[in-house]
C-alpha cells in the first residue's frame, strides 16, 4: 500500500512538473493558437532600402486593401514573379511595407511591417528561404500618390520589393 502511494505521488509530482514546463514555453495568443513567427535575417552590410545597395522598381508592388495585411489572390502573380526571380538568382531581397495616411503614425509603422512580412510569408510558402528576405516598414511615409481620395490611398497601400546588389 505504502509503495503504491509513493509511486502515485511521484507520478503526480512529475506530471505537474511536466505541465508547468509546457505552459512556460507555450504561449496562447488571443485566439488560443501558439504563434511563432519566422525570425528575420541580419541586415546586409551596405544595403539599405533608404540608402544604397538596393535595386528598386524591378517588380510591381503588391497592393493591399484598407486596414488589411492579406495578400489577395489577384496579387499573387506579383509574388510569383519575385519567387521565380529569386529561384534563378542568388540575391536577397528587402520588402518595404507602406500604408495610406488614414491611420495613426505608429500603428501605421506596424501595419506596414505586417504587410512586408505577409509577402515574405507567401514567398517562403513558395519555397524560398526566409533567411534571404528582409523587411522594413515606412508606415505612411513616402507615398507614391500624393493627396487623398480612394485612388491615392489604394496606390499607397503597398509592399515594394528591393533587390540587394
Amino acid at each position: 500500500m505504502k509503495l503504491s502511494h509513493s509511486l502515485f505521488c511521484a507520478i503526480a509530482a512529475s506530471s505537474l512538473l511536466l505541465a508547468s514546463c509546457k505552459t512556460k514555453d507555450q504561449f496562447a495568443g488571443a485566439d488560443g493558437d501558439f504563434v511563432d513567427g519566422m525570425p528575420l535575417p541580419e541586415r546586409t552590410d551596405g544595403a539599405a532600402y533608404l540608402g544604397g545597395g538596393v535595386n528598386k522598381g524591378q517588380f510591381a508592388p503588391v497592393q493591399f486593401g484598407f486596414d488589411s495585411v492579406e495578400v489577395s489572390g489577384s496579387e499573387m502573380g506579383k509574388v510569383q514573379a519575385v519567387a521565380d526571380f529569386m529561384r534563378s538568382s542568388k540575391t536577397d531581397v528587402i520588402i518595404a511595407g507602406f500604408t495610406d495616411e488614414r491611420g495613426t503614425e505608429e500603428y501605421n509603422r506596424g501595419l506596414g511591417e505586417r504587410r512586408a512580412l505577409a509577402v515574405r510569408e507567401k514567398l517562403v510558402g513558395l519555397g524560398l528561404g526566409g533567411g534571404r528576405i528582409q523587411t522594413v516598414s515606412f508606415g505612411e511615409e513616402m507615398p507614391v500618390a500624393p493627396g487623398g481620395g480612394e485612388a491615392a490611398w489604394a496606390a499607397n497601400r503597398r509592399a515594394e520589393i528591393g533587390v540587394v546588389r
Binding site: A30, D36, G103, T104
Partner: protein
Amino acid sequence: MTRAICSISIFCLGASAWAQDAPTITVRKGDRVSLAVTPLGGPSGPAVTKVLQNDLDLSGWFQLVPDARGSYVVGGTAAGGSLQGRVTDSSGATILAKAYNGNDREVAHQFADDIVETITGNPGIATTKIAFVGTASGPKEIYFADYDGASARRLTSDRSISVAPSLGPGARNLAYTGYHEGYPDVYVIDVASGARQRVVKAPGTNSGAAISPDGGKMALTMSKDGNPEIYITGLRGGMARRLTRTRGVESSPTWSPNGSELIYSSDQGGSPQLYRMGAGGGGGSMLSTGFGYCTDPSWSPDGKKVAFTVRSGGGFSVAVMELGGGARIVAAGQNPVWGRNSRHLIYSSGSNLNLLDVPNGRSTTIVSGLGKVSEPTWSL
C-alpha cells in the same frame, strides 16, 4: 445579421450615454482659487510677470483677478538671472517666499510650479518639457520645447525620417526612431549635450520606444522574430525581452507609474484595441473602451486613467478612460500624452499641438508654424 444589429444598438446606447453623462471631474468657476499677480518689480519684472501669468492661467487652478481681490497675492522682484518670489494669503501672511536662479522663463516656470504646489497641493507642469515631430525644415525631425511650446529648438538634423520621440523623466534623455542609417532604429539623445547613441538596431522595424518612469528601461515594438511585438530593453539597448506573441500588430506601449505594467495597442482581434499586461509578460487583457479603433495609449502618472486616439467616421478623436470605468471623447485630434499632474493632455490636431485642461475642456494651441507637427511626448 444579428451581430450587426447588436453592434449598432451598442453604439446607439453608447452614444446616448455620452450625451447624458457629465464629465467625471467637474470644475466649476467657483472651484478655482482667486489669485492676484502684482506685476513684479526689477528690470526683468515685466518679462517674468508675463510668463508667470500665462503659467498660472494655463494651470487651470486659478481665477486671475486684479490685486486686493484675490484669496492669494503673488509678488516679487526679478533682475537678470534671479527672482525673489513671494505669495501671501488673504490675511497677509506669507505662505511662500523663495529665491530662484535662471533665465526669465526658467525662474517664472519654477515659481509658478511652487505656487501651484503650495496653494493646491498638486504638481505643476510649468517646468516640464515636450518633444515632437515637425517638418519645418522639410523632412520629419525631432523638436524640443517648454510645455507651453516656447523656446522650441530642433534636436535632430538627420535629413531623413526622425519620428516617435519619447522623453524620459526630467527630460534628460530622449529616445526616438531614426531612419537616417537606412532602417528604423532606436536612438537615445542626451538632451543637454546633444550626444546621441543608437541603442536598438535589430532586423526589421524597431519603433515606438517609451522610456520607463524610472528612466532605466524602454518598451518598444520590434519585428525581429517575424512579427511586430512588444519588447523591453535597457535604456542603452542590450538584451530584448519579448512580452507579446500574437499574429497581429502590437504598438505604442505606455508604462504604469511604477513600471510594473504596460498598456499597448494590438489588432490581434481585427482592429486595434487597448490591452493591459504585466511588464513581465504573460498575455494582455483587452480594455473595453466602447470604441472600434484605439491606438496611442498614454497612462496617466497617477495610474487612474488612459488617454488614447480613436478613429471614427474618417476622423480622429482623443478619448479618456478611467481604468475600470467608461471612456469619453475629449477633443478632436490624436496622439494624446498626459502631463505629470494627470490633469492636462497635449495632443496633435491638424498641424498644431494643443494643451487641453481635461476637467473643463479648455484647449490652447501651444505649437504651430513648424510644418506638420505630430507625435508629442511630455516629460514627467
